[in-house]
Symmetry: C2
Subunit: 222 residues, 2 copies
């Protein structure tokens, strides 16, 4: 099976979790993983510990398994992310340099010129992610970046994107534009307000996606 040690066990296990090859509640047995990835237990242990501190893996006693999210955790994650995005927008408004503005603007222009119909969903998501990343960077706060990294790890486990309709995409562009203007004008309160509302929308779409998924798997009326 897997034989070339191209990447670290950490990344391989991480990818296996994200791709659901290792589904939630899957048992993570060191010796089995060691055999699968053709390394000894030592690097596997290290990878599992790291994944544990990231929160992708959980221990029950001494056994470890892939962490399973409950629906209400998704809500928590979105709410906390909303607070962090608000904080990043406020701080970016106060601390940004001209170079930061240029980078944010470029990311914004890249989104504007993207052809929604021709682009893959992953491309849309990546462009959107870049825009947000550049705002985080403009906050020049290592502590804030650290927390954002930590919280965003959990988002990669949710499939799909909240940018799937043209209507939503256009609204995102508009809100990004407003956010950019507020940051450029060093209007921290306004930037924070816009960022917060922006994330709230994403949260609501996510909730709707979840409800729809539930309806499909457990239809109320046949």
């Amino acid at each position: 099976m897997a034989s070339q040690p191209e990447t670290s066990p950490y990344l391989m296990i991480r990818n296996a979790i994200i791709s659901q090859e290792l589904p939630p509640r899957a048992q993570l047995v060191e010796s089995a993983l060691a055999k699968k990835y053709n390394v000894s237990r030592t690097p596997i242990r290290e990878a599992l510990r790291r994944l544990e501190t990231e929160g992708l893996v959980e221990r029950y006693g001494s056994r470890m398994q892939v962490r399973e999210y409950r629906p209400e955790e998704m809500l928590d994650l979105y709410e906390v992310r909303t607070f962090l995005e608000e904080a990043a927008a406020k701080t970016a408004a106060l601390r940004h340099t001209d170079m930061d503005l240029m980078l944010i603007d470029r990311a914004h222009q890249a989104m504007v010129t993207l052809d929604f119909d021709a682009a893959m969903p992953a491309e849309l998501a990546a462009a959107n992610r870049t825009f947000h990343e550049r705002i985080w960077a403009a906050s020049h706060s290592a502590a804030l970046l650290d927390l954002l990294d930590r919280i965003l790890v959990h988002f990669i486990r949710y499939p799909g994107t909240t940018l799937s309709t043209r209507e939503r995409w256009d609204r995102v562009l508009k809100e990004h534009e407003e956010l950019l203007v507020a940051i450029r004008g060093r209007n921290a309160e306004e930037a924070g307000r816009i960022a917060s509302a922006h994330m709230d929308e994403a949260k609501n779409i996510r909730i709707q996606m979840y409800i729809d998924a539930q309806e499909i798997s457990h239809p109320r009326s046949p």
Copy 2:
């Protein structure tokens, strides 16, 4: 030297860093630490990795050393903590249960009845910490608690407390009282505003403490 394996190498190294026994930029050599704590390199490695993800230890190439904070990082940490405390207060206002309120109130009463002059600074700090922890708990957000844990790790490395004068202590009590009222009234915006202002004060005191320390070690006029 250190011979009884009472606690984990992780905690022992951590304490050594906090107590400055291992000062900033101290080289962390696995074999040396293993010998010092009478364990093999394996648990030492594990401890170092964990401390690395916590941000207390940093790697330069493959070598590891105790992380050194620059003054502006302290500011970042306080600002981010302020955002998180604001978020926790807002969320606690919305989500608290009656039990949460009782616990917060008890922590508050414990602070009120503490005799400022008789108490040790560590006692004052601990009582204050408990009050804040109960508010975090009342947010019922695991994600928020996780981020608070992560950011607060860095605060333990700063010596002293911002509660050293009676005037400050009384003001803290007053603000806690207001915060408690806002949370009880489920007034999220007000609670967030109070918590934010409360942390801003602590930040400013911290900055003043830093300036004073600088003045002493590098006096401007002899």
